[in-house]
């Protein structure tokens, strides 16, 4: 087991190298960079002194070097102007737009992003499982039709619209401040119980908004998977033993139907980060999504590159976790290689 995890972690290293290269290449695809754009602007305004300063910065961040070299310096496998100083050495880069190191820009938002995503995944699973099981076992009943209808509405409603409506209602009924992740008075205060409570209250609306589409899709998939399993022979075998329907359902078909959902954990993470950008903009949430968007727009390459790489790492870890969970749940995967064929 330990050997396996170590092996998996080692195979992540080349994967991450490939991903980082692709990210870097794609970010650099548009002509120019943040600083050259700025130089253009300054030149048009005729500010020679400022240009000299920016040229100096270009040199400092090695933006005038060839593409491969820039990439290598960014990763930290090639000496830049300041020697080996890249991602590997723990230097996550400099954000030109915010005039701050990248880690200072994202440290707050990353934590909130992770918290929000975790809450959303929990919400999706907690809501969709009971409904999915209900719909599958009572196929074509009124309840099934009702949940199907609600599910399609959830899939079809634009998230930001739902967000605005919910925000208005929350403000009107529960007196919650519009937007943000906490009431304005707590923003620059140290953490306290009241602040935590405010954060949790503000998490509710975004969680529901970001989670509805996922929940609806998950209900449909669980229902379909479970319906497939319910007609399998081993279910009849269990029934022939005299098991009660509910007990039987949880022990046999549900466990079989779980696999696709566990293998999905790794895939959920990137979609939750990139999928919630619009919602975050609309609801004014300080998550990493809007930061990524603006960084991409202004070609703030080190910031954008770091965020994308961070999501990639999360995804790879998610995949590892789902593979381990699958092995724990399914003996065919755990013992597969030893089985007689």
């Amino acid at each position: 087991m330990g050997v396996y995890i170590l092996k998996r972690l080692l195979t992540m290293v080349p994967t991450l190298f490939v991903i980082s290269f692709l990210i870097f290449a794609i970010i650099e695809l548009p002509p120019g960079d943040y600083l050259s754009n700025q130089i253009e602007q300054l030149r048009m305004q005729g500010e020679q002194a400022a240009i000299a300063r920016v040229e100096f910065l270009r040199d400092q961040f090695a933006l005038d070097r060839p593409f491969i070299e820039r990439y290598a310096i960014w990763v930290g496998i090639w000496p830049g102007p300041n020697g080996f100083d890249g991602l590997i050495q723990g230097n996550w880069g400099w954000s030109f737009e915010f005039q701050k190191p990248v880690d200072e820009v994202v440290s707050g938002t990353l934590l909130l992003t992770v918290v929000l995503n975790f809450a959303t995944i929990l919400f999706v699973y907690i809501v969709s499982f009971p409904i999915g099981i209900y719909s599958a076992t009572r196929q074509y009943s009124w309840g099934d039709y009702g949940f199907t209808f609600l599910g399609y509405i959830g899939l079809a409603t634009p998230n930001f619209l739902l967000g605005l409506i919910l925000l208005f209602l929350a403000n009107a009924w529960f007196d919650l401040s519009i937007g943000g992740l906490m009431d304005p008075q707590y923003v620059d205060q140290p953490m306290s119980l009241a602040k935590l409570g405010s954060i949790l209250a503000h998490l509710i609306v975004p969680t529901i908004v970001i989670g509805t589409a996922g929940t609806a899709a998950m209900i449909r998939r669980l229902r379909a998977n479970l319906l497939d399993e319910l007609h399998r022979q081993y279910v009849t075998t269990a029934r022939a033993k005299g098991l009660k329907e509910n007990k039987l359902l949880l022990k046999y078909p549900l466990r079989m139907a779980l696999n696709p959902f566990i293998s999905d954990i790794g895939n959920l993470i990137p979609s939750l980060v990139s999928g919630s950008v619009i919602v975050s903009v609309v609801l004014n949430l300080p998550t990493v999504g809007p930061v990524l968007l603006s960084a991409l727009q202004s070609q703030d390459q080190f910031l954008a590159g770091f965020i994308l790489l961070f999501v990639a790492v999360l995804t790879l870890l998610g995949m590892l976790v789902s593979d381990l969970l699958l092995a724990v749940l399914d003996p065919r995967i755990r013992l597969g290689g030893q089985a007689k064929t």
Partner: protein, 632 residues
């Protein structure tokens, strides 16, 4: 006294398109500690009856009238009418799995792959007899011992996919018997198993029946199983009982025409050479027209029957099993010898039967002949009118020519026809691929083919799903014949079909061979079928050819221990040749290293065929002369 007595049972299936009566006024008794066989073709309602007895009818099915009276021989409780109980109510659940238990056809899919054998078997005991986890485990261990598991203690914690099919079915039986039921319902319990495993499982069911004094309701379509297992027989046709009575009467003096027809449709050994099977619904193939005008290509080249058409010479093939092993541990990759020095010759105009159990390499051999896989060694040579040529060296036009001359009929008529193509398109496709004729000629030829397999040409617009299994298999045959091949490889063409349809297809194959001068390589696990159709037979085991010779010689005078075991395990549909359960191979007959000298084969022994009588070859390395050994 009867454990179950069924009275005037009627069961309806309700669907959007109306009501269908699946079971219509069925009455019979299952006496204490006896075996009743419920026999019929697929779709006759026999499984519906068994489901009704178990209270496992699907929601769409309703018992319209009648009773299923269950009187438990163990208690003094008054008889219960199962038909009137709520299917998932506590009363029914108390009987189900406890007093009446069931085993199913497919041992692979009948067990949950995610739970250990011990867990699944012990579950019923914990449910019905209030056993604790430990007690149930103990009871499970006893049960596994009763069904003769090789290592009961270890088996408790194994998963179904780690076991062979036969062991899985043993586990199923242990699961059904753990509460010592009064009645065991066995729904085609051995249909999915190899013939030697089938004999072992049948013996096991008889043994435990004696041990536990329970009744068995055996649902089967196989009269061989019936003759060896049942005390009484109930024959069902379209939801009605056609005939019922003790097994003696049913086999020796069948009265109802349907039963007589069913019995006549089963191929048995001891049939006369020219005796024909009598299908229930015979078909009339029309041979003539275009077919008679255009002579078979082989005859045009001046070839005569009796000459070697295909020579398989010492071919071998190994498959690497999945490398890497388990997720969390190391294990070395294993290799499977699918073919080990197999040599055989098919004469023009004959039918060579290729027999063996699953995993014997018979299908791999067929694929090698089709050039559907790459060989590790040896050669396959074919006479396409230019003398014997190595088919693995053929390229371009010559390879296309070979493909045209060798065609295949597949096992599963359901999955071997593309459901999105009409029959016309299916039969036309080979002609288009090989660019035969103009489109008008092709259309004529397709109609001819339909007549050839006895199908109305109005069916040409239909799609495969609207045909029955037998009709589909006839389309598969017509497709194989579309290019007028020299050699037809039949891979288990009747094993998915009912007895009556099987007879129909076998007769069709026989007629076509005679009329069109075809040559068959007939792959089957069913010795009786091979006996009916083939002039010569080759027996395979674990990738080796163990015996080959004229069919009558091999069947009547088998030399090799494996062939003997195989023949001894075939249940015959006749009371005069019962299975000898006491002398069923104690040793594993399919283990080459366990065969006695001179037949013993170790992993690296070269299999050598020795001619024991004219044309009759047996694999016996111990008998081979030293010079021959060197030569090989």
């Amino acid at each position: 006294m009867s454990v179950v007595s069924i009275r005037d049972l009627c069961i309806d299936y309700h669907s959007d398109s109306g009501t269908t009566r699946a079971v219509n006024g069925v009455s019979f008794d299952v006496p204490n500690a006896r075996t009743i066989a419920l026999v019929g073709e697929s779709g006759c309602g026999k499984s519906t009856i068994s489901q009704a007895v178990m209270g496992l009818l699907p929601p769409a099915a309703k018992v319209a009238s009648g009773q299923i009276l269950f009187s438990d021989p163990a208690g003094e409780a008054a008889p219960v009418d199962i038909a009137s109980l709520e299917r998932d109510g506590p009363l029914m659940r108390d009987i189900r799995g406890n007093r009446i238990a069931m085993i199913f056809q497919e041992p692979m899919t009948s067990l949950s792959p995610l739970h250990t054998i011990g867990d699944q078997i012990g579950e019923a005991a914990r449910l019905h007899q209030d056993m604790s986890r430990e007690e149930a485990r103990e009871a499970t261990r006893d049960m596994l011992r009763l069904v003769q598991f090789p290592d009961p203690d270890r088996a408790l914690d194994t998963y179904p996919f780690e076991l062979s099919g036969g062991l899985r079915q043993r586990a199923m039986i242990a699961m059904a018997l753990i509460c010592r039921p009064a009645l065991l319902v066995a729904d085609e319990p051995t249909t999915a198993l190899d013939v030697t495993i089938q004999a072992e499982i049948l013996k096991l069911i008889r043994d435990v029946q004696e041990e536990l004094q329970m009744s068995v309701l055996l649902i089967t379509h196989d009269f061989g199983v019936v003759a060896n297992m049942a005390d009484a027989v109930v024959v069902v046709y379209q939801g009605r009982v056609m005939e019922a009575g003790p097994v003696e009467t049913v086999f020796r003096a069948p009265e109802h025409p349907y039963l007589k027809a069913l019995l006549d449709a089963v191929p048995t050994f001891h049939m006369d050479a020219n005796e024909r099977l009598q299908p229930i619904r015979p078909i009339a193939p029309k041979i003539g027209g275009l077919l008679s005008k255009e002579r078979a290509p082989a005859e045009a080249a001046g070839a005569r029957a009796g000459e070697p058409l295909l020579v398989v010479d010492n071919i071998s093939k190994t498959f690497a099993l999945r490398q890497g092993g388990s997720l969390f541990g190391k294990s070395q990759g294993r290799v499977l010898k699918a073919l080990d020095g197999v040599s055989l010759t098919i004469q023009r105009g004959e039918c060579l039967g290729l027999v063996g159990e699953s995993g014997s390499g018979k299908t791999t051999t067929a694929n090698a002949v089709m050039r559907a896989l790459d060989l590790d060694g040896g050669s396959v040579r074919f006479d396409a009118g230019r003398g014997l040529e190595d088919i693995y060296a053929l390229r371009g036009a010559n390879l296309m020519d070979y493909r045209r001359r060798v065609q295949m009929i597949f096992q599963d008529p359901f999955s071997s026809l593309n459901p999105r193509m009409s029959l016309n398109e299916i039969l036309m496709e080979p002609l288009i691929i090989h660019n035969v004729g103009t489109s008008a000629e092709r259309a004529d030829w397709v109609r001819e083919l339909m007549a050839l397999v006895g199908l109305d040409q109005r069916y040409l617009r239909r799609y495969p799903h609207s045909l029955s299994g037998g009709q589909r298999q006839r389309i598969g045959i017509a497709r194989a014949l579309a290019l007028r091949p020299d050699l037809v490889v039949c891979d288990e063409p009747v094993s998915a079909l009912d007895v009556s349809v099987q007879a129909q297809i076998l007769n069709l194959l026989q007629d076509l061979k005679a009329e069109l001068g075809l040559t068959y390589l007939f792959v089957s696990h069913n010795l009786a079928v091979v006996d009916y159709l083939s002039e010569r037979v080759a027996v395979m085991c674990k990738g080796r050819l163990v015996e080959m010779g004229p069919t009558s010689t091999v069947v009547n005078d088998p030399q090799h221990p494996y062939t003997q075991a195989l023949l001894a395990a075939v249940p015959e549909a006749s009371l005069d040749h019962p299975l000898d359960f006491d002398h069923l191979s104690q040793t594993r007959a399919s283990q080459p290293s366990a065969w006695p000298e001179p037949y013993r084969l170790d992993a690296d022994t070269q299999p050598v065929l020795v001619e024991v009588s004219p044309d009759h070859f047996v694999c016996a390395p111990g008998l081979a002369s030293p010079s021959l050994k060197e030569a090989v």
